[in-house]
Amino acid sequence: MSERPVVEIRGVTKTFARGNVTALENIELELHPGEFVSLIGPSGCGKSTLLRVVGDLTPPTSGTVTINGKPARQAREDGDYGIVFQDSVLFDWRTVAKNIALPLEMLGWDREKRKARTEEMLDLVELRNFADHHPWQLSGGMQQRVSIARALSFEPALLLMDEPFGALDEMTRERLNLELLSIWEKLGSTVVFVTHSISEAVFLSTRVVVMSPRPGRIAGMVPIDLPFPRTVETREDPRFFELVTQVRELLRKRGEHLLPEEAAELL
């Protein structure tokens, strides 16, 4: 943990002029290399907004975000992160392979390099046989795997995921959870994962950040000490249930508007 943080969020506040809503208030958070951090909270707690601020897709009203020691804007321009949204956001006019290669095209990779990497990624998400299909020919789960392959294709140090499995059925979701973990273990990237599923957050993460709404604040953090590799059995581990309960308790206190020092105690 002595390494330079991958992401440093310092005093980030975000207010929306329309409706005078404070989406985020004085957020402080650090992510270290190789961490898998979930942001969890009820809708309206600003977790997706925080992710978008980290990705420099929306500016904070005050405060700073630093990625790999650079301002968020510079990091975005340098291609320091990959992003996955709730919907796969695939381009219908591109084949699966071409969708995965899109960021590589943007980075100016030559054809040979693109092709080689695309094939690697297709193997990683087990879609080799669907390279020439169009997105509408794929199931929702497969589309989301393409989207993950696209986000990882250029090996970003940081992966931002905004409820990536929220629109999928429970079975597909659990399978993709396992796949995501095995990819993460293979690549060693740092992940920020937004979700509203407690069990998903506990199962995937090394740390769960619980957020409370109106204004969006960090209500507490739960380090997840479940051993890796995590498997189907992990979900039946008594420790898993303890951690789920801990996160749930924190979520329940959301109405009490914890002060920052109280939140710090919960660490």
């Binding site: 975005r76 291609g79 381009f91 006019w93």
Partner: protein, 256 residues
Amino acid sequence: MTRRIREWAPALVVFVLVIAVWEGSIAAFHIQQFLLPRPSDIVKTFWTARHTLWPAGWYTFKEALGGFFIGSGLGVLAATIIGRFRNFGTAIMPIAIAANAVPIIAFAPIFGAWFGEVSPHSKSAIAAVLCFLPVMVNTLRGLQSADPRQIELMRSYAASELEIWRRVRVPTALPFLFTALKVASVLAMIGAIVGEYFGGAFNALGVLINSDATIFDFVTAWAGILVASLLGLALYGAVVATERAVVRWAPDTRDA
């Protein structure tokens, strides 16, 4: 292939039925030739008058084609400019939509005065004006229909406006553009022929249909209409074929 046949069969049956009823009712109700000729006579004249009708059709078709390309081209260009400069768009769009309600064909005599009553240019001009607005309005709508999440994704790659335009807006707009081009292909033929009703070269299809009708040679007029329809269909078909070649990704143009 069998699927193709199954898809086309109902339309073919209806077509044959309509022709048969048409042919039969003329005999049954003793409808006079100049009111409504028999389909068989129309087809016969289509063949016997081929040396005048077909070249006339080709002449008019070229006028329509010229107008189609000029009008659609300008429509795409205008949509591109308006789509790029938002303020410009807010100023222009209400006017464009109001202009769309103007019966442009009413300008035909005026275009004759501007570009020459006999000249093919005045007909192309009418066709072009008819094509312009639907193409512009639809293309603009297409350019503005880009998925905001796709644009956001492109921003995460630090894409420039030009790259977003090329990789997101244009592909999104293409199906909209082709829908407009199909409408425009029909309008272009209408524009050229109606333009010729107000005067044109002696060997133009609209002029022939008009003069045949004046001398009560309705069979030839109908045969001329048949030529116009076939050419209109050909242009429409060419647009559809181009669409299938360009918009290969769309689920509704896939071949199973």
